[in-house]
Amino acid sequence: MPIAYTPGLRVTGDTTIRATRRLPTKGEVLVAVGQRVEADAIVARAEMPGELHTLRAAQMLGVEPHELTSHLTKRPGDTVEVGEVIASTAGLWGLFRSEVRAPVSGRLEEVSEASGHVRIRQQSRHIQVRAHVAGQVAEVLEGEGAVIEARGALIQGIFGVGGERRGQLRIVSPSPQEPLRAGDLGDCTGCVLVAGAGADGPSILRAADAGAAGLVVGAVRDEALRSYVGYDIGVAITGQEDVPMTLIITEGFGQLAMAQRTWDLLVSLAGRLASINGATQIRAGVIRPEIIVTREELAGQPGPEEAGAGAAALAPGARVRIIREPRFGALGRVSALPPELTEIETGSRVRVARVHLDEGDEVVVPRANLELIQE
């Protein structure tokens, strides 16, 4: 029987973090196994080949592809400047002369006598990958990058936008139930801000304008997300958005208080350097946004207990949260797990749990709509 409840996201103050840092193409690794690196250290770099531009040169000159070579004024391997003539025909008594000029600067890479095309490659670009997380190089991936290992806190959000950023953690809401208020921001240049129950569109923009590197918040309304990103996100694959500040939500959409446990952990880490990434992928090979805070004081201490997310079972007494309307966000404890299928309000017959809510009442909830909370 497949697991019918959502395994909780990881929220832990002490875990072993292994960050795989890989170049998108083959390159040079600059670190060695055992070396200690800071979060902004460059661990690998590569040269990305420039863009390849194709010119239908034979066609432009009005000659057959196999005749093209004899009309070239530049040879494969030559450097060309934008606007420079690379091939021409003599014409008739100097008239009706045709020529092909380079549309970009670069190197003439290939001349094809099969298609009559000429290809110019633009200058290559340098790319580099940083450690992102301060720690020790545990493994070198030959020609690709390295794995950085560190002890520290790991908090997974439920959804995010924007890529990797780093900054000092700063708590800007008085409690997990309070939303972000633009007036609370103050000087937040380069900081990763932590707010409670929500943030509206103008507050998010204010935080970004004030130079914050990131904002971690319990929930946002979809309108706020749309106004920040500038469009409706269709498929839940994010991380590449062109936004000035990474936004991570920990609970969901709407107005939801940040989970107390997440809040308490973030508060305890205030002032430390956080490495965050909003990249989310909700399909096979799930990726959730994360906030990582390396804790050097833990180095050398006995290893943390690595209870994987969802390792606990849904059983009577388990602490749970309802993750679907009605009562979305409500917390409670499982009081019973009836084995038989039970008819719910929609008329469907499903497996349910009885949950005694913190607010006092007891409700029946489909097991699929419960999230386990680690205690």
Partner: protein, 593 residues
């Protein structure tokens, strides 16, 4: 094989592996049970057969049969242990992902896309000489997508050669790597102008594994998709499946080659259309994608709308249709912000299910839009040329006048089959019926059914070996008949009588704008006489009487007088009132509504 008694078939999906057991009993082949278990192609298992054995173990437990031993599925059956036939389909690991290349976007590239989709592939991109992109953009795209294989087409026989060489050079520059199996050469199927094959081979050299097959568009007015589809299927088995973890073992267990899941569904849909002698439309709506299959006039088409679904892709339906597009199907008011937040929360927690009636109505509203969009995508691709000798006239080619939309004839359509959780597990079957009617807008007389437990993939692969068993189980255990929809087409003023009908011993009339239902239980049929008003058509032409047999189902006979295309009132209050009335009439209103 002579008279197999016991057949086991599995479908290794991306998340779940489903096993079914079919046995020959007194009245023919019948489904005996079904088991399922999580698919195990990813770590820590990295072996698809683990999930297969787990699913089969559940099947053994439920049916009391012994099917597998420590070494795998036992074939052939001996001492009542094992199965006479073991077959499997697979879409695990993301299915078959293909890049398609052609010269002209609306001609050879479109034909190649049809060939790939018909073979059960997911087409990740279509590159053509006239697609408006720069070479460096195409190269970056080819590098980024890492397809399982590439289908290259272009040029009619005797036509262009240099455009194909251009495409080949582009491939060499991109140096594509297969998604699975590092170190393997990516398979490239060349199905273009045969005169270009030699040149293409010279350009591609040893960089890829080139397979040359017959031109899939030998003439402008003729398509020849069979050889390309066969090559895709063969390479799927030899390369893609062979690279996926555990498949080498699975292939030694199966009696016949493993088939890609969508191809198997396509085989079943085609068999059903052939056996029943009708046009069939089938849809599978999932969390991430929606597949549409059709057989019209014997011609098969399949499309995949990769980002239309009800969980992972639910917000893409929102992005494509807008709030208005979804809210118009809601028989209750809902604030825009509330609707948006609910859908976003479904997207980020895709395994949750609707608990309240409002949530159910919202999901069913999204389903209508997703189905409608997927069908519109299907219509755009299932147009014009299809099989060999099915010609688009030269005039159509030049005018591009929605070529082939005449092939998808909703009036001729005999059966719509729905599958996917939202349809198969709707709290009331009548809700599934109404979703299908609202999304596809069938015309005339059309049967409706849902696949009870989505076993069409397994039946499709069984059909390749034992069609009579597949068809028997399909009719008796797979399809849940929902009933028949009768929808007159033509102009009429709201409220005027558009149809007089007699079905069995009952008689009545239908007015424009209304939806009515006549109970007719599943497994029964009745003689019907349908008299449309002058100017309206139920299948025999305007104003002409239709006589024939109609099939019953859980929803019975649905008379749909709402007109085609279905227009919903603009005024919110009026629209909500009408939607509620229609739901009540169809028996599709949730409990307490």
């Amino acid at each position: 094989m002579a008279d197999p008694q016991r057949i086991v078939a599995t479908d290794c999906g991306s998340t779940t592996t489903k096993a079914i057991l079919i046995e020959r009993v007194e009245d023919g082949y019948r489904l005996q049970g079904r088991g399922e278990a999580p698919t195990t192609v990813e770590a820590p298992f990295d072996d698809v057969t683990v999930g297969v054995l787990n699913a089969v173990a559940e099947l053994e437990e439920l049916t009391g049969r012994t099917i597998a031993g420590p070494a795998g599925i036992l074939t052939p059956r001996a001492n009542d242990a094992g199965a006479d036939l073991y077959l499997s389909t697979s879409s695990a690991g993301g299915g078959l992902q293909m890049l398609v290349m052609g010269v002209v976007k609306t001609m050879t590239a479109e034909s190649a896309q049809r060939a790939a989709l018909g073979a059960g592939a997911i087409v990740i991109d279509v590159i053509s000489v006239d697609d408006g992109r720069q070479d460096h953009e195409r190269i970056a795209r080819v590098r980024a997508i890492r397809p399982d294989m590439i289908l290259m087409s272009g040029g009619t026989e005797g036509g262009t050669v240099h455009h194909l060489l251009e495409l080949a050079e582009l491939l060499v520059a991109a140096d594509p790597r297969p998604r699975l199996g590092r170190g393997f050469k990516i398979p490239v199927i060349f199905a273009g102008n045969s005169q270009a094959a030699k040149g293409v081979r010279a350009v591609l050299g040893e960089s890829v594994e080139l397979i040359v097959v017959e031109n899939l568009r030998p003439q402008l007015d003729r398509e020849n998709l069979g050889p390309a589809r066969e090559a895709i299927h063969r390479l799927f088995l030899e390369h893609v499946m062979a690279q996926a973890p555990g498949y080498d073992k699975l292939l030694t267990w199966t009696t016949a080659p493993v088939m890609s899941t969508p191809r198997a569904v396509g085989e079943m849909v085609q068999l059903a259309a052939r056996e029943e002698g009708i046009d069939v439309l089938a849809v599978d709506i999932g969390g991430a994608t929606t597949d549409v299959f059709s057989v019209f006039g014997g011609e098969f088409n399949r499309t995949v709308s990769a980002n239309l679904g009800l969980s992972y892709s639910v917000c893409n339906v929102l992005a494509e249709s807008g709030v208005w597009g979804i809210r118009r199907w809601m028989p209750a008011p809902m604030e825009e912000g509330d609707l948006r937040n609910r859908l976003r929360n479904k997207m980020i927690r895709p395994t949750t299910i609707p608990q309240s009636v409002t949530e159910l109505l919202l999901e069913q509203a999204v389903a209508r839009e997703a189905l409608r969009l997927a069908f519109s995508h299907h219509l755009s691709l299932a147009s014009g040329l299809k099989g060999v000798q099915q010609a688009r006239t030269m005039a159509d080619v030049f005018t591009q006048a929605g070529a082939g939309q005449t092939r998808v004839d909703m009036m001729a359509l005999g059966l719509i089959i729905g599958s996917g959780g939202i349809l198969s597990h709707a709290p009331r079957r009548e809700q599934a019926a109404l979703m299908l009617v609202d999304a596809f807008e069938p015309q005339g007389v059309t049967r409706l059914a849902v696949d009870s437990i989505f076993m069409m993939p397994q039946l499709g692969v069984i059909a390749s070996v034992l069609p009579e068993a597949a068809m028997a189980v399909f009719r008796r255990d797979c399809l849940v008949p929902l009933g028949t929809v009768i929808a007159p087409v033509g102009r009429a003023r709201d409220g005027e009588v558009i149809l007089e009908w007699q079905i069995g011993g009952e008689a009545g009339e239908l007015r424009a704008g209304e939806l009515r239902r006549l109970p007719l239980p599943p497994g029964t049929e009745a003689q019907a006489s349908l008299n449309p008003r002058r100017g309206l058509d139920v299948g025999e032409g305007r104003g002409r009487r239709w006589s024939g047999t109609v099939q019953g189902g859980v929803a019975g006979i649905i008379f749909d007088g709402r007109g085609r295309p279905l227009a919903l009132p603009d005024d919110d209050e009026e629209r909500i009132r009408r939607l509620s009335e229609w739901m009540q009439a169809a028996g599709a209103a949730p409990r307490g509504q």
